[in-house]
Structures are given as C-alpha cells and as structure tokens.
Amino acid sequence: MVPSLPLDELSTVFARLSGMLLTQEKVDPALTSLAGAIKAAVPGAVGAGVTLIDAEGHRTSTGYTDEVVAEADALQYSLNHGPCLTAWAKRTTVRMDDVSADPRWPLWSSAVASMPIRSVLSSPLLYGSGALGALKVYASTPHAFPASSQAMLELTALPAATLLANAQGSDAPQRLSAGLTNALTSRDAINAASGVLMERHGLRKEEALRELLQLAETQSSTVRDTALRVLGSTAAGGRTPHGL
C-alpha cells in the first residue's frame, strides 16, 4: 500500500493561505481595518493605528482610524523618535500617561502638543525574534488607559503579528496565486484519474501514474489532458478510451 502523499494536504493548506496573502494594494486597507478593530477593542481609545516597519526602521505600510493618528504617526518617522518607534525597537509596550508631561520624546511631544493626543499606548508586533511594526492607540485626555487597555492591546498584537507575518505582500505569492490554483486543479484531476486506473486495472498508485505518463507520451498529449479524458470516459458511462 503506497501511503498517500502529505503534500496534497499541504498544498491545500497553502492554497487557502495564498488566498489570504496580501498584495501591496491590499496591505494598507487590511491595516486600516485592523486599526478599526483595535480602536473598538481597547477601552478608552479614540484613535488607533498600525504601522509596519522594516529592519532599518523605515515605515513600509500604515493603517489608521483617524487623520490625527496618521499625522502623529508620520511625525515620529520624520523626527525618527517617538513612542511607537521605541515600542518597535525595544520590543516592549510603551505607555505615555500624559504626553505633555512625559520627557522621553521631547521633539515628538512638542510637535503633537496642539493635537488631541494626551495618552498613548503602543505595543510591538512581535514575530519570531523580530518585530514587524507596532500597534498604537491614542486618547485625547491624560491617564485615559487603564491596565485593562494595555492588556487588550498586547493580546491583540500577538495574533495580528502572526497573521501579518504570513500575509505580507511579496512578488512570489502574486506569481504563484494564479499558477498555484491551476496546479492544484490539475493535481486533483491527475490524482482522480490515477484512482480510476487503479481500480479499473488493479494498479498501485505509482503504476497508475506511470500509465498516465505513457498514455500522454504516446498520444502526444499532456498528462493533465490525458487525466481529463480518463475521467471523461468514466463520466460518459465507464467506456474505456482507446489505448486503455
């Protein structure tokens, strides 16, 4: 008995995953909806944002719920300091209970002084040994975030980082998504046709596949089309096609 190949299960999982893979055009909207979910989930938040940061500390993608979040976030990257960059760099949650009284990021604090931002919580998106970016929530009043807010933000960061790590856009998934779908369809057809030949001729799986290969070669056809003909002959009433 030839054991069935685990690859077929793997490929199904991979296909499901590839449906989730984000191209660059889809990353920003995905981060925006994630930001919306965080804002709704964290008690006291009036604005939320998600920023993906590359290994050099450059912002690569961003999503936010409010324009003020986008502005405050952009300031961090132009000033090259701020609570979210520190959360990302130190891989730990950063808490600012009162932006106007917190001495740690003076340039950023003074830059956002006119904005409705007084409380900040930022958690890193940890994945493996690295950090992909940071989540952040803002409130317009000081001491707006109780400990439960921090716990909720940290709780959200873990699955978000895992999903984002597996879903970030790259060229390879784009190249694969169409090709892989076709490949899986073809694999299914060939596996099914092998099964028909196994039953019809009492072959082992490898022998059935070799039979398909030989048929394809003698008929100058592809293995996939040969498999479809075998399946078609079954659907048409079990007639054995020529050569079988």
Partner: protein
Amino acid sequence: MGFDPGEEEQRRQLAAVIEQAGISVSTLWLHYFSMTGSVGEYETEAYLQGLMSLPALQRDLLAQAANELLPDRSELPRAPYSDQARESDPGEGG
C-alpha cells in the same frame, strides 16, 4: 534504492533541455507539481545540479513537465524518460 546508471544521463539531458528552452527551475517545478510531483522546488534544483538523486517516477514526471512546457512543434530536443536515457546515444547533444 540502488544506483541507477541512467539517472545521470537523464538528468544531464533534462538540464540541457530546460536551459536551451529558457525554462526556469521554478516554472518547471510548478508544472511538475501540477502533475502530482512530490518533491519540492529545492530538491528539484538540487537534482538538476546533480546533488541529489530522485526516484525514476519523479525524474520522469520532471522530464514530462519539461516536454509539456516546450513550445508546440518545437525543434528542440526533448527530455528523455528513465527507460530512454539508458539507451541514449552518448554522441548526441553535448
């Protein structure tokens, strides 16, 4: 699995075919995968470089995959199967 004297020749001709036809390893692998091929892209690459041995059926699926990717009515030589590679003329190709 014992050493198959035809494997090296089959591998060499497959490598020559895809190089002449401009077929990339990833393209070859994806098509082979679509034909229920069971080894990964890295193993395929290793096989093509002569670093790894593959069972005859997998080698033949790779050969068939390469041949299916050749343009219609191509004048290019075709990749041999395991039962053909043993009989191949050593003077052919180069």
